[in-house]
Amino acid sequence: MATNTAMKKQTGLTGNSAIAIAMKQINPDVCPAYPITPSTAIIEDFSSYVADGDVDTELITVESEHSAMSACIGAAAAGARVMTATSSQGLALMWEMLYIASGMRLPIVITNVNRALSAPINIHCDHSDSMGARDAGWVQLYSETVQEAYDNLIMAVRIAENEKVLLPVMVCLDGFITSHAIENITLLDKAEVQSFIGEYKPERSLLDIDHPSTFGAMTLQDAYMTFKHQQSEAMTRAKDVVSSVSAEFAKKFGRNYGLIDAYRLEDAEIAIVILNSAAGTTKVVVDELRKQGKKAGMLRLRLFRPLPHKEIADALKNCKAVAVLDRADSMNDFGGPLFNEVRSALYDGETRPKVISRIYGLGGRDYKIKDATDVFDELSAAVKTGKTDTLTKYITL
């Protein structure tokens, strides 16, 4: 059945159009939105679906992302299934509310089309926006391709609304590279999507007047920490839920996603760890190096929040040298955010590889075959000499 589905509906779509179609098929109750490049086209397409009566969604075009996320929270607390999309400064302006959404345990699902943060202003891809929100209590899924972004968004609804989770989910894809490039993609039927996500029955909501509830009430030393502890445990549980939802998705639709994408890592001695679209380029280089007999591999994290730290440690356990490539800098003189977490995940391993941080592709700077090759060369040298050049470095400069 899976192959039939695949053959039937292959088409070429941009990431933004695919996300908009996923939203159409999900048919959320409410979508508050404010436009920002490069995610604008998602809401543009979606507003046509609203105008054409293809969805029942109430599209609220508010006056800023601050209002957009606030309205998401209000609608979600009222019991609605809520979605929106944003990028960069838009996500940054939502920051205050991101914590409200997760703290109130509201299963809001948003798409973040990754774009650099100002200043200086730049509209192209990097991950500083979603990395800035990494401690906001949102589940974060990263997508290599248009197909994965589409699939992730559909799965995100199930993950967010799972009673063991009840946390907001952010699906990330690379601005312009994935959002604007046309790729082959297999769409599901609306009915398939609907049956997969099921009906949303909020456990508690403001509109459930038989069971009055309050959201966000003052808690001090007596209870605040208990709430945070519960939230933290929900985040821990989210990992297994992402796994089980992904497994169910694979069974139904034939597309299999793990928490991580371990590419030719079984016997790899050197590896690059990376997020999103740059994995494609890296895989090409891995294949090339393998042809030359070099034991290269790649690890791409699909799930970044919660961090699949055991899986990361396991996937990289045979490596001697690893480069973690960040498309964002923590500006801490100690490497990017992904680097610090991956390196920490490796700390308890029996044999710890050398791990270096390389910052690449900020503000849309291209990451090319040669860049990945150079990093692998560095790693090979490190394996030979037992020494690394510098711990942290900018590449693609």
């Binding site: 604008t40 809401i43 800023s64 601050h66």
Partner: protein
């Protein structure tokens, strides 16, 4: 004005050195053919020249949008800030350097939607900023979503069946919030606009100039205007009346029209001065 050659030609026919105020390496600009933003820039540069201000004493601050790209092209102290926040950045600059002439360039979306709160509080404080709101009734930069000045019933990518949100009148809002100089101009009435901007620059206190200009690419096309000039004629020329003429016209002739010229002007204590005398003066016992 987008190309160096055009600027040179203008220099031959008009005794005005635009190059003096431009950053030639940053040209050509991004604005579409027919966009009103370039015309407004021309009026602004001429008003600055007429004001006699030294260009190094001017700081131009903008938010984000097509209009807000202006500071990139001009050779003043410039800051391209965040969507909606130009007022707050400008307030900081003015506070630190009260002698600097701080000019805020902002779009109707930038100033009245995402930045609406900063807009009213700037006016309320009456801090000495010259604020130019480029009102083209649309979010140009992001591809034609309706803005807080899109007329009722008009089409945008976000209002396929016509806008149902009543628009703001930026001038009424500025006056109500406390700005001590409020005016309106259009890109069509270029010379008049130049004079209005000059007056705004000279005024001490928050001076707001609401400038009606055209976005033919999005607002124009979606609302069936035939061309940029058609938009200018219908919206800017026929859609407005000068305050000077308005007194002489019967009410029915004014219906649906926006007033142009200086709409409100008063003397009110300016914020930085108040702070220097009322707060710092007392705090330091001087």
């Amino acid at each position: 004005m987008s190309e160096g050659t055009v600027a040179k030609k203008q220099k031959l026919s008009v005794p005005f050195d635009y190059d003096k105020y431009l950053r030639p390496k940053k040209l050509p600009h991004i604005w579409c053919p027919g966009c009103g933003h370039g015309i407004v820039l021309k009026a602004l540069l001429r008003a600055i020249e007429a004001s006699g201000l030294n260009k190094d004493d001017i700081c131009m601050v903008s938010g984000i949008g097509c209009s807000s790209r202006t500071p990139g092209y001009v050779d003043f102290n410039t800051m391209h800030s965040l969507h909606g926040r130009a007022f707050a950045f400008a307030t900081g600059i003015k506070f630190a350097k009260p002698n600097m002439k701080v000019i805020v360039i902002t779009g109707d979306g930038d100033a009245l939607a995402i930045g609406g709160n900063h807009f009213i509080h700037t006016c309320r404080r009456n801090i000495d900023l010259t604020v130019l709101v480029y009102t083209n009734a649309i979010y140009g930069m992001t591809g034609g979503q309706y803005s807080p000045t899109t007329p009722l019933g008009d089409i945008a990518t976000t209002s396929r069946y016509g806008n149902i949100e009543p628009p703001f009148d930026a001038c009424k809002m500025a006056e109500a919030a406390g700005a001590s100089f409020v005016a309106r101009g259009t890109a069509y009435h270029t010379l008049e606009l130049e004079k209005t901007i000059l007056e705004a620059i000279k005024h001490k206190g928050t001076s707001v100039v609401d400038i009606i200009d055209a976005c033919p690419t999005y607002y124009g096309r979606m609302n069936k205007y035939k061309s940029a000039t058609h938009m200018m004629e219908v919206i800017e020329k026929d859609g407005t009346v000068s305050v000077k003429q308005a007194d002489k016209l019967p009410p029915e002739k004014l219906e649906g029209k926006l007033l142009r010229g200086v709409l409100y002007k008063t003397d009110r204590p300016e914020y930085c001065e108040q702070y220097a005398t009322q707060v710092m003066g007392k705090a330091t016992g001087k």
